[in-house]
Amino acid sequence: MKNCLLLFILLTFHRCNCFSQVYIEPISGYQSDIANHGKFHQINSGLQLSFKKSSRYELIARIQKSWGLPYHAVDSSFTANSTLPLYEPANKTIIAEAWYLSLDHRFILKSKGKNHQFSILLLTGISGQIFKVNYKYDKVNYTILNPDQTQKTGGVSIGTGFEYMRLFKNDRLFFRLTVDAPLMGEIAYPSSFKPMSLLAFNAGYSFLIKKKKHEK
């Protein structure tokens, strides 16, 4: 994890020269998992630094945490003890969370409007996912059949998306729709879920924090 963070910082600063226009962009939004038939949903919060390299391209360093919303389901638990009912439902709650360290690419499309900008996004980074599983049932007398367990996975994260940006004098407001490919990482345990592929809708605001040298 420390190595990944170090690599992330080095790559970011290596690729960002002092002639870039720099924005700081808090983002927030909502995402839904499409790999598990919409079971898991998250609220996103993140911060990114955007380095405007040219009028057509920006490099973005993003750090994001996605806070899981609980998913409820019922599994089966059984007992061999004949003095008790054979079956009892086991209430299951799964909270699936994710984090991202990403170097994203904003390819700006030509636009007729002066204050409007459309971009294609390419998201490349690393990501981790954690599925926190909790059961409520009679743990003394019953045993759950094929139980889920808390799992972690992570790996290279790749995604793409589309972004609309409203330009103001210095700052910018943007909305983006992105989708991540499923993580390369595997879940070795026989779970009822697999690594998430997330469809996200986020909004953010760009604050200009450093102008180009000739604009000073």
Binding site: A80, L145, N146
Partner: protein, 206 residues
């Protein structure tokens, strides 16, 4: 002469590795995080039984198949036996051991009374059944070398979550045996037992 050895050694090693390297461990152990050392209760064909014996974890030996020079082993076998020409019993035996005596000759067996004409096509009739195993319906027989050298007879209960066998199936599962069991023996208790076995012609011996 030197050239001869250069060819002979790699060829011999390749043949030997093919002969010895084709074994496959078909047991999958997934730890139950709520029970110290036990496997999860599953019905997906993990080929394992685990349970507590007086606080020790008891588990079956691995199911190993293939291999030209090594013998295949299974954790469970199903047989039928008859006493006094009138009492017919289905016998399910799991072989294993505790952590200290793993892969020994310990076993837990279920002897279950069945009709005289009971055949492997009748195994499905036990699917989903929970049975109280007392002296009338049958009994458990156990041998745990860490506790005693004797075979012990016990009572208890068993639940067959899945019990099926169809030898005519050519691809996929031919059968499945999964469930829970609890048994009381004079010198030990077998508790929290959970089993999940694939059944093939290797395991059904009647």
């Amino acid at each position: 002469m030197k050239n001869k050895w250069i060819i002979l050694i790699p060829v011999s090693l390749a043949v030997l590795s093919i002969l010895m390297g084709c074994t496959k461990n078909e047991t999958k152990y997934f730890a139950d995080t709520t029970s110290n050392g036990l496997a999860i209760f599953s019905n997906t064909g993990n080929n394992i039984l685990t349970g507590d014996v007086n606080g020790l974890v008891w588990r079956t030996q691995n199911r190993v198949t293939g291999g030209f020079l090594s013998r295949s082993t299974s954790e469970v076998y199903l047989t039928k036996t008859t006493y006094d020409s009138s009492i017919h019993l289905l016998v399910i035996t799991w072989y294993g051991g505790t952590q200290n005596f793993q892969y020994g000759y310990d076993f837990i067996s279920l002897y279950l009374s069945v009709p005289s004409n009971f055949s492997h096509s009748d195994l499905d009739s036990l699917n989903g059944k929970r049975l109280e195993i007392d002296s009338t319906k049958g009994y458990f027989l156990g041998s745990i070398s860490e506790i005693s050298n004797n075979y012990e007879i016990g009572t208890g209960s068993i639940y067959f979550n899945r019990f099926s066998y169809d030898p005519t199936v050519t691809t996929g599962d031919t059968g499945r045996l999964s469930g829970l069991l609890e048994a009381d023996f004079p010198d030990f208790k077998f508790t929290n037992g959970r089993f999940d076995d694939e059944l093939t012609i290797e395991q059904i011996q009647f």
